[in-house]
Symmetry: none
Subunit: 221 residues, 4 copies
DNA sequence: GATGAATGAGGATTCATTCAT
DNA sequence: AATGAATGAATCCTCATTCAT
């Protein structure tokens, strides 16, 4: 009789955890059911099929669990105050740096869309997009109305791209982009960039001592 | 000895073409040698091994052929004039919208790095990054020095993300992001965004009649 | 403690019913325990093992239940009067057309004999054969003694083949061989054929208005 | 450069031979691809897939090869002379006793029809039925027209049932039904039975010295 | 009795690769 | 340069069965 909040995760959750990590690292086609079981106390691939009908169902379960939280972090109302915008960004970055492979997982799913996923990613990402669009209502004086979707996509790529491509950045820039200090730098950069793109850029000279510098990143798990 | 401009493509090139398309759409692990042969006049998988030692060698050949041109399009010198910057962007966008799966291919390679690729992407993308960094020499009055790599990465994501995630955008926004008009809008958005991020933003009111509106997109093949 | 006549069938009987149908349709190897559970109110394959030790035991239970009644319908004494012969045939045909998959089940068991079944079918069918032989005592003036076993086998194939191959006949002749009228025709044909083979053939001209035409087929359940 | 008529059978034929034997003995569901390879000089199941697209395609190839010859042995014209009828029966029995598992194979296919086979058996057996019907044109003075299909089916069961159920008969009657002498007895019985059913029965007293007794069975392979 | 979970063995099929022609 | 055939290893998934609850 262990409660769900204890350390005892159900088999289903253990599988989802392992699968999330692997799918994020290698993609749907790059992960075998055997690989997943191997990262699990289970002894046999057959056991997986007790919890998920097939590989794809498992993948989609991983995906929706991962996107669920993300969706709740994206504001659906327009953000006009600088501080509110920054708070939103902070929450998103905290989450993404805590769940390292999530951005990769989403990026892979996006690339695979129409192949394995058809509906899944679309169904899950569309609300996220809708919310994001809602948050951009006030920008029409800066961008033409028909450019706003491009702006939304651009913000998405700015924010998620950093985490999705962390591996690549590490290899190219030769520094760990997920180290606390690197994430903190990215946070500062992102706030500046978003503010500029939304037309609420702070005075340049104050950037380094601005209040968001003292944001406390969550302790890594 | 057929030149590149001849209509007669060599077997090697035909294979590379098919493989590029497939790898971009499904990723390394998602494509089988059989799939590739099937998109080719060749009748047998064995024939592939006449031209490429193995699957991975074929993949890397696809990758380096694709990245070759891209690298030559990225400026290695700092760009301070607005018009020069725009010319650079124009060339890049032209190329990416003409070679639709290239951005996907690169994004997939980036995600797979350290798995199948180890050296390949890194080796190929590092010069691209170095060049990009070089072009950003003048921005230190706008961004802290240690933020410049983040800016470089951000620009990369802004530019490539749109094409890499075209499938996703189509599914979410319900319009073809690769249609000539959409690409033109993205071009305008991108110029504005880049200018803003690099601190050479044009007066907002003039954007719609600014000179880059009359840019002629290349005729599709 | 439910009697056989109660509407409430025990779990064991429900399982046997489902298994009989499935084994008849697909054969022993073509049916999985999962398939059987799926045709049952039970929710889990484990439940099957409460009633039957294993798949084979279940199969044999199905088989002996099915053959039990058949055995009781085959006369063990020689039949010389035409009317008695016809009554025997009528009873057998009634039963076989009421229990549609029984003949298939037996035919499959016969083919599988020596494979999964070794003893089962043999043990169950041998008495049936012995009884049948007994009923053929008088035919030695028509057939050589050593031909009588062939005659017994032939009668068996004539009678059971029609029902065992009903699916095939439907596909080939394009009419339902189990429809009441088709069964009635088969009944007439069979009586004629058996009578001819046993040397008690009725005068040809009278066949259509002979007494067995008014036989009432049992109402379907 | 071996000709097709030499002992060197092609891989495809070797596979077909092994598969025919196994499918006849155990049925489609009871045979695994591994079983088939094991009866073959091939070392790997993968090799099977070079010659047949999948298990079912292999099964259907076995089936059509087997039914091809049979079809050519069934007369399509009405047979009125006794000797012609007997010649037909002789040819059919010779073939069936030479190709022992063929009747089993067909019987199994008939039972499975509508399951794995849908079209296959039907497509292959329908012409056989049509031919058989054609051979029965003259019997309308003995049987009602609507009984003729039943007669056709009955003859089929009489002839094929003996070989299809040889295993069962052996177990029940305790003698090998495929021994030359047993086949000879069955031949005699069958001629008598068919003649009786078609109304061309020979005088009873002469049966044992009638000309068909000196038929020479083919030497077993 | 019933059931959810687990599991070793085996199911069909595909993989990348090799080799003789 | 091309291809048909072959193959060991791996793919996803299903099998019959067991056990704790």
């Amino acid at each position: 009789m262990t409660t769900e909040t204890t350390k005892t995760r159900s088999s289903r959750e253990i599988i989802l955890d392992a699968a999330e990590r692997l799918f994020a690292q290698r993609g749907f086609a790059g992960v075998s059911m055997r690989d997943i079981v191997a990262e699990t106390p289970l002894k046999n691939q057959a056991s997986l099929y007790h919890h998920f009908e097939n590989k794809r169902a498992l993948y989609e379960a991983v995906l929706s669990r991962g996107l669920e939280h993300i969706t709740s972090l994206v504001p659906s109302e327009p953000t006009d105050s600088l501080s509110e915008l920054e708070a939103n960004l902070d929450r998103l970055l905290d989450y993404l740096s805590e769940h390292r492979h999530l951005a990769q997982l989403i990026q892979r799913a996006a690339l695979d869309d129409g192949r394995y996923l058809e509906s899944a990613v679309t169904r899950l990402l569309r609300p996220l997009y809708t919310q994001g669009r809602g948050a951009l209502t006030g920008v029409e004086q800066l961008w033409q109305p028909e450019e706003v979707p491009h702006l939304a996509a651009g913000l998405y790529h700015l924010i998620f791209g950093y985490f999705a491509n962390a591996e690549l950045l590490r290899a190219v820039v030769l520094e760990d982009p997920l180290s606390p200090s690197a994430v903190e730098r990215q946070r500062r950069f992102l706030k500046g960039a978003v503010a500029r793109l939304l037309g609420i850029s702070p005075p340049a000279g104050e950037r380094s001592q601005s209040p968001w510098d003292d944001h406390q990143p969550p302790s890594p798990p």
